[in-house]
Structures are given as C-alpha cells and as structure tokens.
C-alpha cells in the first residue's frame, strides 16, 4: 500500500461512514415524522386507568401540600404519570440477585402504583457519569433509581449539577446529604442476628458446636453482618447456655469462587457445621465446598445464603437465606415519589420495613422459578425445591430456636433495641471484641439484653 493509496483509503472510509450516517439519520427523521400514527406499547394504555385513580387519591389525601404538582395534576389528571428509570449495575439482569430483585421491585411499582418504568444497563463504570448526565438533563424521569455501590462515585459527581432531578441510590451512600438524593441502606445486623441464632441451633442439631462465615472484603457493609451474626450466636449461647465456636474469615474478594471454596473447606475441617455466605460470587465456592463435604461423606454440614434466596442452588444443604430486599428498597423509593413523600438523605430499611429478613418459602419459590426459567436450576422443579427446603427446616431447626428468633425479632421490630453501625474500623473491632467476651449490649445503640 503506498502513501496516496493509504490516504485515499482513509478518505473513502470517511465518505462511506458519512453516507451511512446520512442514510440512518434520514431513516430516523422519517421515523419521527411518522410517529403519531405509530401505536404506543400496550402496557401504557392498559395501566393508564390505574394511574388516574392513584393520582386522584393522592390529590384528595394531600390537599394543599405542594402547589406546583397540584396544578399539574388538576389541569391534566390523566397524563401526569410518574416516570422512573432503573439503572442496573454493570452486568444487569440475570444475576438472580441484586439486579433481578431490583427488576421485581420496579415491576411491582409499575403494577401497583401505575408508574412507568424504563431500565438501562451500563456497560462499565466509565459510562455511568455520562448516562446520569444524559438522563438527568433530559428531564424525562421523575426519579432515577441506581442499583449497587458502583454508582456511588458517579452519583457523587453529578447529583449537585441537577438539583431538580431525584436520585435514589440502593445499598450504598455517597456520605453527602442532598435534598435530591435518597440513599437506601439496609440494617443487615437485624437479619443476620436472627440467622446467627438459627445457625447455632442447626450446628447443635448436626452434632457440632461451630458456626462460620465466609465474608467478602473488610468494608463497612460487612462489618454490620459480622456484628449481627456474632450477636445472634452469642444470644443463642446466653439463652440456652450452650457454647458455640465462632469462625469468621474475610476472603478479600466478592468475585472468586475458588477462594470461597478453600476458605470454606478450612472451616469445615475445623469442625464448622453451618457456614454463612457473605461474599457474593465468592460464596458460591462455599456452597460447592459444603456440597462436596456432604457428598464425600466427611460429615453433614449446611450453608446459608444471603441477599437473594439461594436455597435452589442446593436445596438439600441450604436450608436458609438471609434476605436483603432490594425490591422493597426500589419500591419504597418509587412510592415516596408517587405519594409526594420524597425526602433527601439516608433511609435505612430493617426488619420492621421488610427490607431485611429471612426468606420464607414463597420467596424460595420465586427465586427457584427465576432460576428454573434461566436454566440454572436443573434436575428438579421449583416445587420440589420448596418441598426439600421445607422438610429441611422442619427437621433441623427446633421449635425452641424459632421461639428465640421470634422473641428477638419482636424486640427489634418494636424498636426496643437497635444496633450500632460502626463508622470506623476501630469501633468495629472493639464491638467484635466485646461481643466475643459475651457482652451483647456492646452491639446495641439503644436498649439492652439481659
């Protein structure tokens, strides 16, 4: 290829791409000219009736709170429809966890509140800032719901530029209070405390006295799990008088099943009977270790999942999963906008709000069905999963343990006790040291246990 030829190649490519762009732009123009005749998607027309009712109830219940929205609703009551965009984490749907739960929550809001929801999956962290800017400056959405911690930095950069755009960040916080930003966090201590009681009880049922947890990185959200889980174990110790060994290991990663497998194997060799997975993809390796441990006849051990219901992964060996209801958080944020209850700042969801908990059999079924649809659940039907889990729970969790759980749950839900959320690593290690000594009240911000 000589020089002139090289130059002309470049020029030819330029011309061609310009032609392609021109043709496509022409097509776009032609399309926009003909849009009015285009039928709208079916979902819009069917749900419009429900919107009207929800809007009118909102108008009648809150008479003269905000004048601007009032006038907007009275002039065109049928057209005022709350529009929401849910922005997933990188990777998007199909994770059977965070993103799928966010989708379920948004779907529920669409059905029950009559809002219009659009979804978007960013390609990478690099795309998050421009996407937020593009959506915020388009003024099309009343609320942008951001799923997952990766959005924290990008939101922190953009939120101040768009004071009229509402943002809801799920399961993370920028650490800055803004009137247009709501950070929804979970009080994971509350659910993991209940899990701790059940884990200890199951360990005794399996003929051991050791429980463990395979954790991800040593970061604030995991501190809350550590405190709650240890609290639950010590609560069990105090109420039953039975000693429980407690193992806790940070693997330093949320994405490496191999590390999860080896860590779990070490704990099982140390006599752990129940392992709690708190490391995302890493604890899938923990599940595999528990499955192998049982199948190789080395003893009986159970695993506990977290966030989504993960019982379907191995229902014979996973009797429980802690729930982190991303769907509830998404729904709550949308509902606040629909009801004109929006307030910036941090909102925490705990047992009382249904934000955390232990998945019941309906939840187990929902996720087993999701897994079944995506062909990740093989060799059994969702109903069989539910049946196996039900039997497992009846066989290995004694009534006395459920009583302890309900007792503690009641104390938490009534607000009699609340947990501390450590802000520094020193505070966290101090709480853990005190808990290990049996001082349960060190973990409590309010109330006491006796």
């Amino acid at each position: 290829m000589n020089v002139k030829k090289a130059i002309s190649t470049g020029a030819a490519i330029t011309i061609t791409i310009v032609i392609i762009l021109a043709v496509a732009a022409g097509a776009w123009w032609w399309y926009t000219m003909s849009t009015p005749s285009q039928p709208k998607p079916a979902a819009t027309t069917t749900s419009s009736s429900t919107t009207t009712t929800s809007v009118t109830t909102a108008t009648s219940s809150s008479t003269t709170t905000s004048t601007t929205t009032q006038t907007a609703t009275t002039t065109s009551p049928a057209k005022k429809k709350v529009r929401v965009a849910v922005l997933f984490d990188v990777g998007g749907r199909g994770d059977l966890s965070f993103n799928d739960m966010a989708y379920l929550g948004a779907e529920r809001a669409q059905k029950e509140l009559g809002v219009e929801v659009n979804f978007l999956t960013p390609k990478s962290l690099n795309d998050m800032v421009p996407l937020l800017e593009q959506l915020a400056s388009s003024n099309k959405y009343d609320l942008l719901v951001l799923i997952g911690f990766l959005w924290t930095g990008p939101l922190n950069k953009t939120a101040d530029k768009f004071p009229n755009q509402k943002f809801a960040l799920i399961d993370s916080t920028t650490g800055v209070v803004r009137p247009n930003e709501m950070d929804l966090l979970f009080r994971e201590q509350e659910s993991s405390a209940l899990i701790g009681i059940l884990a200890a009880a199951m360990a005794y049922q399996l003929g051991g006295n050791t429980v463990g947890a395979v954790a991800g990185m040593d970061i604030p959200p995991l501190w809350k799990f550590h405190i709650g889980y240890l609290f639950g174990v010590k609560y069990f110790e105090m109420k039953t008088g039975k000693k429980v060994n407690f193992l806790w290991q940070y693997t330093g990663t949320f994405g490496d099943p191999q590390v999860g497998y080896t860590t779990a194997m070490q704990m099982l060799q140390q006599g752990a009977k129940v392992l709690y997975g708190l490391a995302g993809l890493t604890h899938i390796g923990m599940f595999n270790a528990v499955i192998d441990w049982n199948n190789e006849g080395k003893g009986k051990a159970f695993a506990i999942g977290e966030d989504a219901s993960q019982e379907w992964y191995a229902p014979q060996y996973i009797p429980l999963s802690g729930a982190k209801r991303v769907d509830v958080a998404v729904y709550t944020a949308i509902k606040d906008v629909v009801d004109n209850q929006w307030k910036g700042g941090i909102v925490t969801l705990g047992l009382k709000e249904g934000g955390v908990g232990i998945w019941d059999l309906d939840g187990v079924k929902t996720f087993a069905e999701l897994a079944y649809q995506t062909h990740q659940l093989k060799n059994m039907t969702p109903d069989e999963v539910v049946q196996i889990v039900k039997n497992l729970r009846e066989k290995y969790i004694p009534q006395s343990a459920w009583q302890l759980v309900n007792e503690l749950k009641q104390k938490i839900e009534s607000g009699e006790i609340t947990f501390k959320t450590p802000t520094t690593h020193d505070e966290y290690t101090h709480i853990i040291q005190e808990l290990m000594k049996g001082n349960l009240n060190a973990a409590l911000a309010k109330g006491s246990i006796s």
Partner: protein
C-alpha cells in the same frame, strides 16, 4: 486522465462500493432479526444513532481507548503479527499511569509511564515471537489474564480508596487531563491526544523508513530478508509501537476520564478486544481507525439507550452491533486472513 490516476479512482470506487454493500448488508441483516423479534428496525436504528451522537463528549471519550487499542491491533497486523494482547497492554498502561500519577501527581510522567509499560509488554510478546518462536496469540492471551488478576489484587488490596472501597485511589487533580471548553459543553482532552497519536502513527507507517520496513515484512518476510531488512526486528518494533499505543490508551482513560479503576474491572475489561474490531473496521489504516472508533463508540452508546427507550434486552443491542461490525469488517478481514495464511506458508 492518466492511467495511474484512473487506477487510483478505480481503487477508490471499489472501497466505497465494498463498504457500502457491506454496510447495507449488515444493517439489513440486523433489521431482519429486529423485525422478527417484533421491534421496529428503523426505530431501533434511529435510537442507536441519534442517542449515540447526542452527547459528543461521551462519544469521543468512549472512542478514545478504542482508537488506541484499534491502533495497537493494526500496527502489528501491518507487520504481520496478530496482537490480541491489546487488552493486557491497556491494563498495564492504566495501572502504571495510576500508580505514577498517585505518587508523583505529574500528568506527563504518568502518560509516559503508561506508554512505556505497554511498549515493554508488547515488546516482550514480540521478542518471544521473533527470537523464541512463541505464538504471539497464546502468550498475549495468557499475559492478559495474568495482568487482569495482578491488577485486581493491586486495587483490592493495596490501592483501594478507603472512602469508596469499590474503587482504587483516584488520580490526583494535578495529574488529570483537563476538559477543553467548547460551545455547548466541554470535551475531554484525551480524544485529541489520541488523534495526535493516530496521526503520528500514520506518519510513522507511511512516511518513514521504519514504517516501510514494517509494511514490507508484513506483506512478505522473504522479500524483506532479500531486501536486507530483518523481519524479526520489525516484529518486535511493531509490537513495541502497538503495545505502547494500547498502554497510552489505558493511561488516557484513567487520567483523563474515570480517574480510578473499579474492583469489578468494568473500567478496563473488554476495551482491548473491542480494539480488534475497531482496527479491522478501520482497514488497519490509522485515519480509518479514528473514524471507526467513533462509529463503534456511537453504536455502543446507542445500544445502551435501546434498552431504555425500546425495552429490548441489552443483549439484543450487542447482537445488532456485532452483526453490523462483522459485515463491515468482513471484506477486509478476509483479505488479511488470506495474507496471513500466505505469509505463514512462506515462512515454512
């Protein structure tokens, strides 16, 4: 009209025809898939293009790393080396520039560090190929993963940001590459640096002795030896240039746009592999690659928006992008493949 000019115009016309036909084929094939799945193809294409170019800053910033990894693929390709390691070279450039920027706060030093780190890695792959006959594809892919996990270890364990543990420490403001003000919003400066790099590469390939040697050895290593050139050296040199450009891409992305790497590696992952498509789409011509990188970035950005506006799953947009790119790159990729096989035979 002289004969030479007529031949040139014929060549010109062939390229235009070839590209136009493959573009039409690609868009039509995509349209058939969209239509059969119940979407309006023109509506989807309209979104992809209009939304893709609606934010010029986003478009050009997204194109920047693609432009450089495209060059990282094409320069070695011209010398007859298949550089699939643009991914790893981008990683090492990004992490080197981040570390240098973090500790020194000097933008130029960090950029240079990124370039040199990528060049060293590329040169190492090239040297293995030239002097030990290690297949460059195998060594490059293995190095990609070694670097992937090494960087993950560094940003999770050593360089994490205590305030945002999901991200590495940020590039300090003094080492960041700024935004050039334009009417209607600024544009990140990194794209213009990348364009300058592409122009320099173009000059190097088509106007210097080194470029001539590279191209001759690429077309026929035997003729190169006969002419007194050392084809082994040109393999190493082309990989040094290609690796350096990919490393520069990583450095520009980190210093000029995202300022930190996230612990899921979404910041860097895949940019090197996309570069292969960009290089082929640009016909291994640095000027063509400038355009093809922008075209690619437009499709990717527009593809994200398809989910939002049309409710289609994100995989659909990726499929359509794949079809269009393959159709556009196919005539040239075919030529390259023929040449690669011929060259391989010639060596034996």
């Amino acid at each position: 009209m002289s004969k030479e000019v007529r031949i040139r115009y014929a060549h010109y016309l062939t390229i235009v025809l070839e590209l136009a036909i493959s573009a039409v084929t690609g868009f039509m094939a995509g349209a058939i898939i969209l239509w059969s799945l119940g979407y309006n193809p023109w509506y989807i294409y309209g979104i992809m293009i209009s939304m893709g170019i609606s934010n010029p800053d986003y478009l050009l910033s997204k194109a920047t790393p693609l432009l450089l990894t495209g060059l990282a693929f094409s320069v070695p390709m011209l010398a007859g080396v298949f550089n699939i390691g643009g991914e790893g070279q981008l990683y090492i450039g990004a992490i080197t520039s981040l570390v240098i920027a973090y500790y020194t706060g000097n933008a130029v030093l960090a950029l240079l560090g990124g370039f040199l780190a990528g060049a060293a890695l590329g040169g190492a792959i090239g040297a293995l190929k030239a002097f030990r006959d290690v297949n460059e594809v195998v060594s490059a892919i293995m190095l990609n993963w070694i670097l992937y996990f090494s960087i993950l270890y560094l940003i999770v364990d050593k360089l994490y940001n205590p305030l945002m543990p999901q991200q590495s420490v940020p590039v300090p403001p003094s080492a960041q590459i700024g935004i050039i003000p334009f009417p209607g919003g600024g544009i990140h400066g990194i794209f213009f640096i990348a364009v300058v790099a592409a122009l320099v590469t173009h000059y190097l390939i088509y106007y210097t002795d080194l470029g001539y040697v590279l191209r001759v050895s690429g077309l026929s290593p035997k003729s190169a030896s006969y002419a007194g050139f050392n084809p082994k050296k040109s393999i190493v040199y082309s990989m040094i240039i290609g690796g350096g450009l990919a490393g520069l891409g990583g450095a520009l992305l980190i210093q000029g746009y995202v300022h930190s790497i996230d612990t899921t590696m979404s910041t860097l992952y895949g940019l090197g592999f996309l570069g292969i498509g960009v290089g082929l789409l640009g016909w291994n011509n640095p000027l063509g690659i400038i355009l093809s990188s922008v075209f690619f970035a437009m499709l990717i950005i527009g593809g994200e928006m398809v989910e939002l506006t049309a409710g289609a799953p994100p995989e659909l947009a990726d499929t359509i992008i794949g079809i269009i790119v393959i159709a556009l790159a196919l005539p040239y990729a075919y030529k390259i493949l023929i040449n690669y096989v011929r060259r391989w035979r010639e060596r034996i």
